[in-house]
Amino acid sequence: MRLLHESALLMICTLRASLFLSALALCACLPGCSTGEGAVPLRLELTEADLAEADKLAPQDLEIATSGTKKLTLEKTDLKFGFIKLTDCAPIVIAREKGFFADEGLSVEVVAQPNWKTLLDNVISGNLDGAHMLSGQPIAATIGFGTSAHVITPFTMDLNGNGITVSNSIWEQMQQNDPALRSEQPPHPITADSLVPIVKSRLASGEKLQMGMVFPTSTHNYELRYWLAASGIHPGMYTESDIGGRTDAEVELSVTPPPMMPATLEAGNIQGYCVGEPWNQQAVAKGIGVPVSTNYDIWKNNPEKVFGVTQEWANANPDTMVAVVKALIRAGKWLDETDDTGKLVNREEAARILSRSDYVGADFDIIRNSMTGYFYFQKSDKRPMPDFNVFYKHYCTYPWYSDGVWFLTQMRRWGQITEPKPAEWYDEIARKVYKPEIYLQAAQMLLDEGLIEKDEVPWDSDGYKPPTSDFIDGVKYDGRDPIGYLNSHKIGNKDSL
C-alpha cells in the first residue's frame, strides 16, 4: 500500500514537472549520493553516446526490458538477528549460511543471546532488528505481561521440538509406579500418571517436586503445565501478587535458561525440565536424565518458535521485512527437503552448520539425533521421530491466528492474564501479533520467482486451523471458541463470558 501511495504521489509530481526539471533534479542529487570508495563510479548521467546506442536498438528489445520484475526497495540491508542456542533457530542460521539472505540483498549478522529476557529486551531496545522468539513472547509483550511492547510475528519458525526430561531417580520411581515403563522401549505417550504418587509422597513429607522451564511465557511452561495437569497434578497459578506462578502448586516450576538445564538437573536443584533440543539429548548422552515425553505427544504439531520484530521496526522497514520472510521461508523449505523415500536430505548438513561454535555449538552427534528424525529416550531406546522438528511441512511457517489464541488461552488458564476476557478479545490480540499478510506477500513473490510450489501455502485461509483433538488428554481445541476451550479443562481458570 505504502509503495503504491508513494509512487502515485511521485507520478503526479513529475507530470507537472517538465523533463528538463527532473533531469536537473537527478543531476543535483547524484553527486551527493555517490561516495563510493573508488570501487565503481556511481554516476547516473545520460550522455550523447547513450542516445546513439539507444537509437540502434530495435523496439522489441526495449519491450522486454520494461517487463522486468519489480524488486523490493530494501530500507535496511545490514541486519542483526538474535537467537538462543537451540536447534530450532535453524531457519535463521540456514538462511544466512546457505545464502538465502544474501539472495535478497541482505547482510545478516546472527548473535547468540544469553537468555530469553535479554533477547526480547534487545529487540525492543533496537540493539537487534529481530529474533528467534518463543511463541508466547510477542503475545505477552503486546498485552503487557512482563516487558511491554508491540511485537509482531510474520513467520512461524517450527513445530514441535521440545521434550520433558526427568532425573534418573525420578524415572526409576516412575518405573516402579508403572510396570509398563520398565521395558527397554516403554510404550508412548508417557503421561504424568506415574508421577502422581511421587508428587503426593513428596507433598506428604512437606516438599514439592521442582521442575525447570525456560521462560514464564514459553511454550515449555505451557506444555509442562499441560502434561502435569492432564494427569491431575496442579502446576500452580499465576496471580496478581504471585508472578512466579506457584500459588496452589503441587509441583513448582522455575525458570532456567536452556543451556543451563542439564547442569541444574545434575546439581539436584530441579528434578525435571521441559526444554528444546539439544538439551534433552544432552541429558541422555551424559546419562543424567531420561526424556519421558516430547511435545509431539502432548500436542501433535504444536507451534514452537516464531520470528519476532517490533511493530515499529516492521513499519519503518516494510520491504526489508518481506525480504527477510522470503529468505526464512526458503530456509524452512530447504530444511524440510526430502527425497523420494521421505528421508530428510539436508538435515545432516544443517546439523553440521548448527554445531559451529558461534551457532548452537553442541556436538554434531547430539544435534544430529533429533535433527535427522531420531530421538534417544534412553541409551537403549532410539526411536524414529520424523516430525520431531518440522520447519516447513503442514503449512508450518504460516503465522496462524489460532496458534496465538491457544497461547492466550494458556495465559488465561494459568492466571497470567488476570481477568476474564471475551472471545473477541482473543481474536483481536492474535490479529495484532500474527501477520499473515506479510507472509503471504513474501510467499507470492517466491511463487512468482518459482522458488516454492503453489500448494505449499494456505493462500485462502482465514488464519484459523481446523479444530483438533491431537492432545495428550484428547481435549478438543477450536481457536474460534477460546472460552469453551478454557472451560473444558479440569485444572486452571474457567471463564463464563
Partner: protein, 537 residues
C-alpha cells in the same frame, strides 16, 4: 658498552622485569657465580615449577571425569586454542573474499574449487573409515553386550521365579495361620519383611547389571573417535570452502555490483530511447538500482565476532571504564586529602558503595544507559562513535557503555582511597614551603600536592585496572556485550565436548592480558616515583 649495560639495567628496573637482571650482569661477566645462582632462583625454578604444573595437569586431568565432561589435558586445550584461531582465520578470510574483485577473485575462486575437489576425495575416505570403525565398534559392543545381556536376562528370570516361589511359600504359610495366633502372625510379618528386602536387593543387583550394559554402550572406541574427528575436520573445512566459494562467486561484492550495473545500463538505454510519461517509472527504477549499488559498495561481509576481536573490544571497554574511574576518583581523592571536612562528607558514600558487586551495578547502569540512549541507531553518540576511524568497528552500543560504567564503578575505589591517602600524607615541610612562597591553591595543587601524591595514586590506579579487568568479564557476560565475557558465556552455553577446553583457553588469555596490563601500570608507577617504590610481583 658499560653505558648500554646501565641502560638495560635501568629498563629492567623500571619495567619490573627484575628476573632479567642477572642475565644482563652475567653477560658482562659480573660476579658469574652470584648471577648464576640468581638465574637459578628467578628463572630456572619458576620455569621448572611451571613445567611440573603442566606435567601434573596432564597426568591428573584424564583421571578426573564427571558426567558433565572431562577435565581437558594441556594437549586438548592447545587443540581448542587452535580451533579458536582457525575460526578467526576462516572468518577473516571470508571477509577478504567478499571484497575481492577482478583477477584476484578469479584466481582465488579457482584455488578454492581445487581445494574442494581434493577435499571431496578425502571426504569419501573419511566417511568410509567412520563407517568401518563404527561397524567395528558395534560388533565390539555387541560382543561384549551379549554375555552381559544374557546374564541380565537369566538373572532377571531367575529373580522373578525366586520371587514368585517365595510369595507362593508365604501364601501357603499364611493360609495355615490361626486367626488368634499372634506369634505366627508376627513370624509371618518377619518373613514378609525378609522377602521384601530380598526383592529389593535383587532389584539393586539387576540395576547394577543394567548399568554395566550402559557402560558397554558408552564404550569409547579410539579408532572411531579418531575417524570421526577427521570427518568433522573435513566437514568443517568443506563447509568453510563452500561458503567461501559462494562469497567469491554469487555473493561477491564486485559481482553483485556488476550485475546491478548491467541492469542499470539496460535501463539507461531505455531511458534514452523513451519519451513522454513512461520516463517516470524508468527513472525511478534507475534511481532504485543506484541506491542499491551504493549500499553494495558500502556493504561488508557480516563477520561474526571472533576471540581476537572480542579481546580488542574487551580491552577498549576496560580502558574506557578505567579512564572514567580515574576521572572521577582522582579529583574526589584529592579533595578528600586536602579537606578533612570533605572527606567526612563523602566517607559514608565510599563505605556504602565500595563493597557493591558488579552484578548489581550492571543492571542499574543498563537501565540508566538505556534511558539516555533510547534509540541506539540514531543517537548522536552511537552514530558518532561508529564513524570514528579506529574504534568504529568495535560497534559501541549501550551494552558496551553500561559495561564500561560498571567497570568504572567497581574499580574507582582503590584509586580514590589511595589518592586521598597520598594527598593527606604529604610532608608538612613541603606545605610549609608552599606557604612561605605564598603559592595559591592551584599552584600548591600542581607543584606540591599532586607530584608528591603521584606514586600512591599510581599504586591505586594499578589496583584499579586489575579490578576493572576482573569485573569486566562478569559485566560482559551479563550484559551480553561482545567481548571475552560473551565468549566465555557462549562457549559455556554450547555445552559441547570442547567447552571445558575453551574455558581453559580463556583462563590463559585473561591471565596473560591481566599480567601485561599490570606490567604496564608498574612501569608508570616506577616512572613517577622518586624513591624507586618497590613493585610487588
Amino acid at each position: 658498552m658499560e653505558s648500554l649495560k646501565y641502560t638495560l639495567l635501568k629498563i629492567i628496573h623500571v619495567s619490573g622485569l627484575t628476573f632479567l637482571e642477572p642475565v644482563v650482569r652475567l653477560c658482562y661477566g659480573e660476579e658469574p657465580q652470584l648471577q648464576l645462582k640468581k638465574i637459578g632462583r628467578f628463572i630456572v625454578i619458576p620455569s621448572l615449577t611451571f613445567l611440573a604444573f603442566l606435567v601434573a595437569w596432564a597426568l591428573i586431568a584424564p583421571v578426573y571425569k564427571t558426567k558433565s565432561g572431562e577435565v581437558p589435558t594441556p594437549a586438548v586445550v592447545w587443540d581448542a586454542a587452535q580451533g579458536v584461531k582457525r575460526f578467526h582465520e576462516r572468518e577473516s578470510d571470508k571477509q577478504v573474499a567478499y571484497g575481492l574483485s577482478g583477477d584476484e577473485r578469479e584466481s582465488s575462486l579457482a584455488a578454492v574449487s581445487e581445494q574442494r575437489a581434493i577435499l571431496n576425495s578425502l571426504k569419501a575416505d573419511a566417511d568410509e573409515q567412520v563407517a568401518e570403525a563404527s561397524e567395528e565398534r558395534t560388533a565390539l559392543v555387541a560382543e561384549e553386550m551379549e554375555p552381559l545381556a544374557t546374564a541380565y536376562e537369566t538373572k532377571k528370570a531367575e529373580f522373578k521365579q525366586a520371587e514368585k516361589r517365595r510369595e507362593a511359600a508365604l501364601i501357603v504359610k499364611a493360609s495355615q495361620i490361626d486367626q488368634r495366633d499372634i506369634d505366627a502372625k508376627n513370624e509371618l510379618l518377619a518373613y514378609i519383611r525378609g522377602h521384601e528386602f530380598q526383592t529389593e536387593q535383587e532389584r539393586e543387583l539387576l540395576k547394577q547389571l543394567k548399568a554395566e550394559q550402559d557402560d558397554v554402550r558408552n564404550l569409547t572406541y579410539a579408532p572411531l573417535q579418531n575417524a570421526m574427528r577427521l570427518q568433522t575436520e573435513i566437514a568443517e573445512k568443506e563447509q568453510y570452502l563452500a561458503k567461501k566459494e559462494e562469497i567469491l562467486s554469487k555473493a561477491n561484492r564486485s559481482l553483485k555490483l556488476e550485475e546491478e550495473a548491467a541492469r542499470l545500463k539496460e535501463l539507461k538505454l531505455q531511458y534514452a530511447a523513451t519519451t513522454g510519461p513512461d520516463l517516470m517509472p524508468i527513472a525511478q527504477q534507475m534511481l532504485q538500482i543506484e541506491g542499491r549499488m551504493q549500499k553494495i559498495v558500502d556493504s561488508e561481509y557480516a563477520k561474526p565476532w571472533t576471540l581476537p576481536m572480542q579481546i580488542m573490544r574487551s580491552l577498549a571497554c576496560v580502558f574506557a571504564g578505567f579512564f572514567l574511574a580515574t576521572a572521577i576518583a582522582i579529583p574526589i581523592g584529592v579533595l578528600c586529602g586536602v579537606s578533612p571536612t570533605f572527606m567526612a562528607a563523602v566517607t559514608p558514600f565510599i563505605a556504602l558503595f565500595k563493597p557493591v558487586s558488579p552484578i548489581v551495578w550492571l543492571p542499574i547502569s543498563l537501565i540508566i544507559v538505556g534511558g539516555v540512549i533510547t534509540d541506539p541507531e540514531t543517537h548522536w553518540l552511537m552514530v558518532g562513535m561508529s564513524n570514528l576511524p579506529l574504534i568504529g568497528w568495535l560497534q559501541i552500543n549501550p551494552a558496551f557503555i553500561a559495561s564500561a560504567i560498571t567497570v568504572a564503578l567497581c574499580s574507582l575505589w582503590p584509586t580514590l582511597v589511595n589518592t586521598a591517602l597520598g594527598v593527606a600524607s604529604i610532608d608538612k615541610d613541603h606545605l610549609n614551603v608552599a606557604r612561605v612562597l605564598r603559592l595559591n591553591f592551584f599552584q600548591r595543587l600542581t607543584k606540591i600536592v599532586i607530584p608528591s601524591a603521584l606514586p600512591l595514586i599510581f599504586a591505586g590506579l594499578r589496583i584499579s585496572l586489575g579490578v576493572g579487568w576482573m569485573v569486566l568479564i562478569a559485566a560482559e557476560l551479563l550484559s551480553s556485550s561482545e567481548g571475552i565475557g560473551k565468549f566465555v558465556w557462549d562457549m559455556f552455553n554450547n555445552g559441547s565436548s570442547e567447552t571445558f577446553a575453551q574455558m581453559f583457553v580463556v583462563v590463559f588469555v585473561v591471565g596473560v592480558i591481566g599480567l601485561l596490563l599490570d606490567r604496564i601500570m608498574i612501569i608508570f608507577q616506577r616512572l613517577v616515583s622518586f624513591d624507586g617504590a618497590p613493585a610487588a610481583i
